[in-house]
C-alpha cells in the first residue's frame, strides 16, 4: 500500500496545471469563484477550449474522440480544474448520453451524434424525471406510440437541468404498459425544436432558473432515434446512472468550498477576533475537514479500484451520500460565516446588476448556494434511495 502518485501521474498533473494557467480565461474562473451563474456562451467557450486540447471527453475511449484516461487521470484532471475554478463540464452529452451511445447505440447513431457533442453543435438535456416519478423512475408515464417509422410522444418531463439551452433531449418513455413497471421503457432521442415540444422554466428555492418542465404534445420522433431495443430502456438508464455516479463524491467541489469557507472565516470579524478564531466555529470547520479528508481517501480507493478495472459498486452510493452531507455542511457553514450578510437576496447582484449590498463580495452567493444545494441530496437518487441500496447490496438486509 502507498498513498503517493506515480511519476507519470505527477507529470500529468503538472501538464493539467500548465494548461489551466495558460488557457482558462480569468473572466470564467472569476465568475465560478464568485458563485455567479454561467451563461450558455460561457459554457460553450470552455467546452471549445477543452475540445481544442482534446480534453473535453475525459471519460470517453480514444476511438470516439475521448482522452482514454483511466480513473486516476480523470480524478487528477477533476481535482485540478476544480481547484482552478474552471467551469464544470456540462454533463448531459459528455458524461451521460455519450457512454450510453458508445455502449448501446448503433454505429450510425455513434457516427452522427458523438462528434456533435464534442463540437458543441448539440446541447443535450436529460428527460428522466416526471411529476410523480422522481426517485421512483420505474413509474414514469410519458408515452411513445409507434406510428410507422415514427414514435408519437405525449407527456411531461421535469427537473430538466439547463433544458432552456438545449436543442436535443434524451428521454425515457413508456412504450409498453405490460409486465413490471421497469419493463416497457425505451430510450429515445428527441429534437427539442420539433413541433409540440414546450419548455417551461421552474424557479427554484434560491430564485434561480436552472431546471425546466418539458411538455410533449404529439411530438413525432423518427424511429431511428430509438437507442438499443424497444422496451429495454431501463437497462440503459441504469448503466447511465452508474456512469453519472463517477465523481459523485464531489471531493473537488468540497475542497474548493472548504477553502472558500476558511477564507471567509479569516476575513469575517467576530468581536475582537477573526471568526475562524471562534473555537466553536473552528470546531465545525474542523469536523467537516476531518470528514472530508477521510472521504477523499475513500474516493481514491474507489478510483484506484476503478483504474484497476473493477466496476464501481455500492461504494458509489456511500460516496454520493457522504459527499452530499459534507458539501451541504460546508454550504451551511458558509451561510453562517457571512452573518447578517446572508439576509440580502440578490439575484441581480449576482449577475452584476444594480444596488448590491454593501457586504463583501464573498457573502453574496452564500444563502443562494446553501438553498440551491439542498438538491444534492434529492437528485440522482435521493439519499434515502442510496441508503436502501446500501442496505440491500452490502448488508443483504
Amino acid at each position: 500500500m502507498n498513498l503517493d502518485y506515480t511519476d507519470d501521474q505527477k507529470a500529468f498533473r503538472q501538464e493539467v496545471r500548465e494548461f489551466l494557467a495558460a488557457e482558462l480565461p480569468a473572466r470564467l474562473s472569476d465568475k465560478v469563484r464568485a458563485g455567479q451563474a454561467l451563461s450558455k456562451a460561457d459554457h460553450e467557450e470552455w467546452h471549445a477550449i477543452l475540445n481544442a486540447r482534446g480534453w473535453l471527453a475525459g471519460n470517453w475511449p480514444k476511438e470516439f474522440g475521448g482522452t482514454g484516461w483511466d480513473a486516476v487521470e480523470r480524478h487528477i484532471f477533476e481535482e485540478e480544474t476544480t481547484a482552478a475554478h474552471a467551469p464544470r463540464i456540462v454533463p448531459f452529452g459528455l458524461h451521460m448520453l455519450g457512454p450510453v451511445l458508445q455502449k448501446f447505440g448503433s454505429k450510425a447513431q455513434q457516427d452522427h451524434w458523438l462528434p456533435r457533442i464534442l463540437s458543441g453543435e448539440d446541447w443535450w438535456c436529460q428527460g428522466y424525471s416526471e411529476p410523480g416519478a422522481g426517485s421512483d423512475l420505474a413509474s414514469l408515464k410519458c408515452e411513445a406510440v409507434r406510428d410507422e417509422d415514427h414514435y408519437v410522444v405525449n407527456g411531461q418531463k421535469t427537473w430538466t437541468t439547463l433544458g432552456q439551452h438545449a436543442n436535443m433531449i434524451f428521454c425515457l418513455v413508456r412504450t409498453s404498459k405490460e409486465g413490471k413497471p421497469q419493463e416497457g421503457i425505451s430510450f429515445l432521442l428527441i429534437d427539442m425544436e420539433s413541433p409540440g415540444v414546450e419548455v417551461r422554466p421552474i424557479t427554484l428555492l434560491d430564485g434561480g432558473v436552472e431546471v425546466n418542465e418539458v411538455w410533449f404534445s404529439d411530438v413525432r420522433v423518427p424511429a431511428e432515434n430509438l437507442v438499443g431495443d424497444e422496451n429495454k430502456g431501463w437497462t440503459y438508464a441504469k448503466y447511465l446512472l452508474t456512469h453519472e455516479r463517477t465523481n459523485i463524491a464531489g471531493v473537488g467541489f468540497a475542497n474548493a468550498g472548504l477553502q472558500s469557507l476558511k477564507r471567509i472565516a479569516r476575513a469575517e470579524r467576530d468581536g475582537d477576533r477573526a471568526l475562524i478564531e471562534n473555537p466553536h466555529f473552528a470546531a465545525r470547520i474542523a469536523r467537516v475537514e476531518i470528514d472530508l479528508m477521510a472521504m477523499a481517501t475513500t474516493n481514491l480507493r474507489v478510483v484506484s479500484a476503478a483504474a484497476a478495472g473493477q466496476a464501481p459498486g455500492p461504494e458509489s452510493s456511500m460516496l454520493k451520500l457522504k459527499g452530499t452531507v459534507i458539501r451541504q455542511e460546508i454550504n451551511a457553514l458558509t451561510k453562517a460565516a457571512v452573518g447578517p450578510w446572508a439576509i440580502p437576496f440578490q439575484s441581480e447582484a449576482l449577475e452584476g446588476a444594480n444596488e448590491p449590498s454593501a457586504g463583501p463580495d464573498y457573502a453574496m452567493p452564500a444563502t443562494r448556494t446553501y438553498l440551491n444545494n439542498r438538491k444534492l441530496s434529492i437528485y440522482g437518487g435521493s439519499n434515502e434511495v442510496q441508503r436502501s441500496i446500501i442496505a440491500k447490496t452490502m448488508l443483504e438486509l
Partner: protein, 346 residues
C-alpha cells in the same frame, strides 16, 4: 404555574388566527398595506405595548402569542421591527407610540454596522452637535419606514436618534425572507435625540424581546412547515404507496415533532423570563435551540418533499427561506452558545 392562555389571550389568538387565515388565503410573500392596517385595527400592534404606553399587553406572553401566529402564515410584515424593536425602544424612553399602535407610523432600527456581525455594542457611527455620520448595514424594512431610529456614539455613550429616512443615503435590496432591507450612509445627517443617558441596556432589552418575537415566529413557521410536510407524506405516492407509510420517514417526522416541542418549550421559557433577572441566560438558550431546530426542520422538510420542495412556486419555499433567516438576526446558534457558556456553564 399555569400553561393555559387567559380568556383575553385566547380571544386575541382566535381573532388573529381567523384574520390571518383570511388575509393569507392567497399567500403573500411581500408586506401589504392592507394587512398592516388590518393588524393595527384588530389591536395586534397594541398587544405588544403595555398600558402605560397606550397598549394593552406588552408581556413576553403577548409577544410570543402574536408572533407564533404571524409565523404560521409566513407573514413578512415589519411588526417585529416596528412594534417590538423600534417601538419598544421609543416606549421605553417614554416616547409616544400612539401612531405606531394605530398603524400610521412604521419604524426601522438602524443599528448593526458593516463588520459588526452580532455584537449589539459594536457601533462606530458618531454624533456631533446632533448630526450623525457613519454606516449601517442590512437595516430590515428601512425603505418602508416612516422614521428611522439610529444608534450612534456620543463620546463613549451609546445613544439613540430619530432620523428622517429621506435625509439618508439608502442602498436597498430584497431580503431572503421577503420585504426590503437597506444599507444606510449617514453623513452629517440631522437627528433628534431619543431618551437620556446610555442606551446600551435599553437596546439589549429591546433585542431580547425582539429575539423572543423572532423565536416565536420561527415556532409558527415550523408548525406550518410540519403540517405541510405531514400532508405531503400522506398524499404523495412512490413505489405504489404514500411515502408517509415508509417507516424511515415516520421516525424522522417523530424526531422533528419532538424537536418542535422542544422549541415550543424554549419559547415558553423565554416568554416567561424576558423581562426578569434571568433574561440573558434564557435569550442565549432559546435562540441557540431555535437555531438548531430551525435548521433541522427546514432541511428535513425540503428533503422529505423531494423535488417539489426545491421549487419557488410551492408554499414551502417562502416559509423555509424565512425560517433559514432566523439564525441571522440578533446572534446565531454559535454566538448564543458562547454566551450561554459564559452565563451558565463556565
Amino acid at each position: 404555574m399555569n400553561f393555559e392562555l387567559s380568556d383575553e389571550a385566547r380571544m386575541l389568538q382566535d381573532g388573529l388566527r381567523r384574520y390571518l387565515a383570511d388575509a393569507y388565503a392567497r399567500p403573500l410573500r411581500e408586506p401589504s398595506d392592507t394587512v398592516w392596517a388590518g393588524l393595527a385595527e384588530m389591536g395586534v400592534i397594541g398587544a405588544l405595548f403595555p398600558e402605560e404606553a397606550g397598549g394593552f399587553g406588552g408581556t413576553g406572553w403577548d409577544i410570543a402569542l402574536v408572533f407564533e401566529e404571524l409565523g404560521r402564515v409566513g407573514s413578512p410584515e415589519p411588526l417585529l421591527d416596528t412594534g417590538v424593536l423600534s417601538g419598544g425602544l421609543v416606549a421605553a424612553a417614554g416616547g409616544d407610540v400612539e401612531a405606531v399602535i394605530a398603524g400610521g407610523t412604521r419604524l426601522a432600527f438602524a443599528h448593526g454596522e458593516p463588520g459588526g456581525r452580532y455584537d449589539p455594542t459594536r457601533v462606530d457611527t458618531r454624533v456631533e452637535d446632533g448630526r450623525l455620520t457613519g454606516r449601517k448595514a442590512v437595516v430590515a424594512h428601512a425603505t418602508s419606514a416612516d422614521e428611522l431610529l439610529v444608534s450612534a456614539r456620543e463620546g463613549e455613550a451609546l445613544t439613540l436618534w430619530r432620523v428622517d429616512p429621506d435625509a439618508v443615503e439608502m442602498h436597498d435590496y430584497p431580503m431572503t425572507g421577503g420585504g426590503f432591507a437597506a444599507d444606510i450612509v449617514l453623513n452629517d445627517t440631522p437627528g433628534e435625540r431619543l431618551g437620556e443617558g446610555d442606551a446600551t441596556e435599553a437596546i439589549v432589552q429591546a433585542q431580547a424581546r425582539a429575539t423572543l418575537a423572532l423565536c416565536a415566529e420561527a415556532l409558527g413557521l415550523m408548525e406550518r412547515i410540519r403540517a405541510l410536510t405531514t400532508d405531503y407524506l400522506k398524499t404523495r405516492k412512490q413505489f405504489g404507496r404514500p411515502i408517509g407509510t415508509f417507516q424511515v420517514l415516520q421516525h424522522r417526522m417523530a424526531d422533528l415533532l419532538i424537536e418542535i416541542e422542544q422549541a415550543r418549550s424554549a419559547v415558553v421559557n423565554l416568554a416567561g423570563n424576558v423581562d426578569g433577572p434571568d433574561r440573558d441566560r434564557h435569550v442565549a438558550a432559546t435562540k441557540n435551540l431555535i437555531g438548531e431546530v430551525a435548521r433541522l426542520v427546514a432541511e428535513e422538510a425540503i428533503q422529505m418533499h423531494g423535488g417539489i420542495g426545491m421549487t419557488d412556486e410551492y408554499e414551502l419555499s417562502h416559509l423555509v427561506r424565512r425560517l433559514t433567516m432566523v439564525d441571522h438576526r440578533f446572534g446565531d446558534t454559535l454566538y448564543h452558545l458562547e454566551r450561554f457558556i459564559r452565563l451558565a456553564v463556565a
